[in-house]
Amino acid sequence: MSSTADVLPATGPARPGCGVWLHGVTRDVDPALLATTRGMDGAAVRAVRAAGLVAVVSAAPLCEYGEEALRRNLEDLAWLERAARTHHAVVAALSRAAAVVPARLATVHHDDTRVAGQLTARRVELTAVLDRLTGHDEWGVKGYVVPGATPRTAEPAGSGGAGAAYLRRRRAQLTARDEGQRIAADAALSVHEALAGHAVAARRHPPQDRRLSGASTAMVLNGAYLVGQGAVAGFRRLVDSLAGRHPELRLELTGPWPPYSFAEERPAGPALAVREPAC
């Protein structure tokens, strides 16, 4: 058994005129899963093995995924959607079977040897990440402001004409709005901290714009939580109870996701709270 790219189960090495699109790295993969999972070119994905790791790849015709073409295509929303969904579907299928380190979109190599080289070069890091991810899934919790759920400040009394009364009322409205935002932000923080306490790692991502979220009110929490597969029921219950405790927020749970938010060994940003696995 050599430690280079020695197993090429499905279609063999990259075809001429094709790059090698990396979907993700795992420890091992069932050939049946490879055979039933479609990659970027619509054909089955393949495994490139090296350094005790498996890179799951698919053929990426250079006319579509070469440097120039990719640059152009990434700006085509329809193309981008198709590529993103295809890549994500492969990563999700792998993730359902075993721990996977998802690759960022558009990681393309010239050939399998180059991919194997990356596995070898980054073996220590990839192995550590896989160890950390094994038995865990990513769950997303988004929190939206519930309008009117924050306390209204009482209308201030006072003397003066209609103009003064208007200004007082207006000031009170603005104060209430600031107060509402502060209350929502505080609630988001305490929800995040409670969820992080139930996760082995947690991250807060920038809230999505309303057009992205499709929600009618502002998002104040866009959290990702790495949760042990045995702890999911408890995590769900916690989300439920937090929703009850914080009527000022509407919470939305999505998942399980492949661990996109926890793929880097040392993720950037101070918002990350990585703790030792609880069990």
Partner: protein, 122 residues
């Protein structure tokens, strides 16, 4: 590729407190473009290019209906990608009422000054 993509996310079905929202494209794009491990590929569409991509996309989609559906502008909140990063809660555009409310005291002060002057002159 035209086949129906598999259900990408098994949504919990426990959207709280009500409703069921399947994984949307925005959620997926946010993850595949912005997260996941960075491994240097040979085809150099690097992170830098993806930053450019998102910035360009912002321009491209600004006037397109798709933008409303997809709304790809999470970078607006990301200081790394945008100088226009905003706080988590967007106060929204200034409403005319507010502008008016801020204007009123100034108008009132000007009127008062005019009155003083008028008294002095008279």
């Amino acid at each position: 590729m035209t086949t129906q993509p598999p259900p990408v996310v098994q949504n919990s079905g426990q959207v709280l407190p009500a409703g069921h929202e399947p994984a949307n494209l925005g959620d997926i794009l946010e993850r595949v473009l912005d997260r996941g491990i960075v491994i240097a590929g040979d085809i150099r569409v690097s992170l830098l290019d993806i930053e450019l991509l998102t910035l360009k996309l912002r321009l491209v989609i600004a006037s397109v209906d798709t933008a409303r559906q997809i709304g790809i502008d999470w970078w607006e909140h990301d200081p790394w990608l945008s100088s226009r990063a905003r706080p988590p809660v967007e106060p929204g555009p200034r409403d005319p009422e507010q502008v008016e409310a801020e204007r009123r005291p100034r108008v009132a002060r000007r009127a008062a000054r005019r009155e003083e002057r008028d008294e002095f002159d008279g």
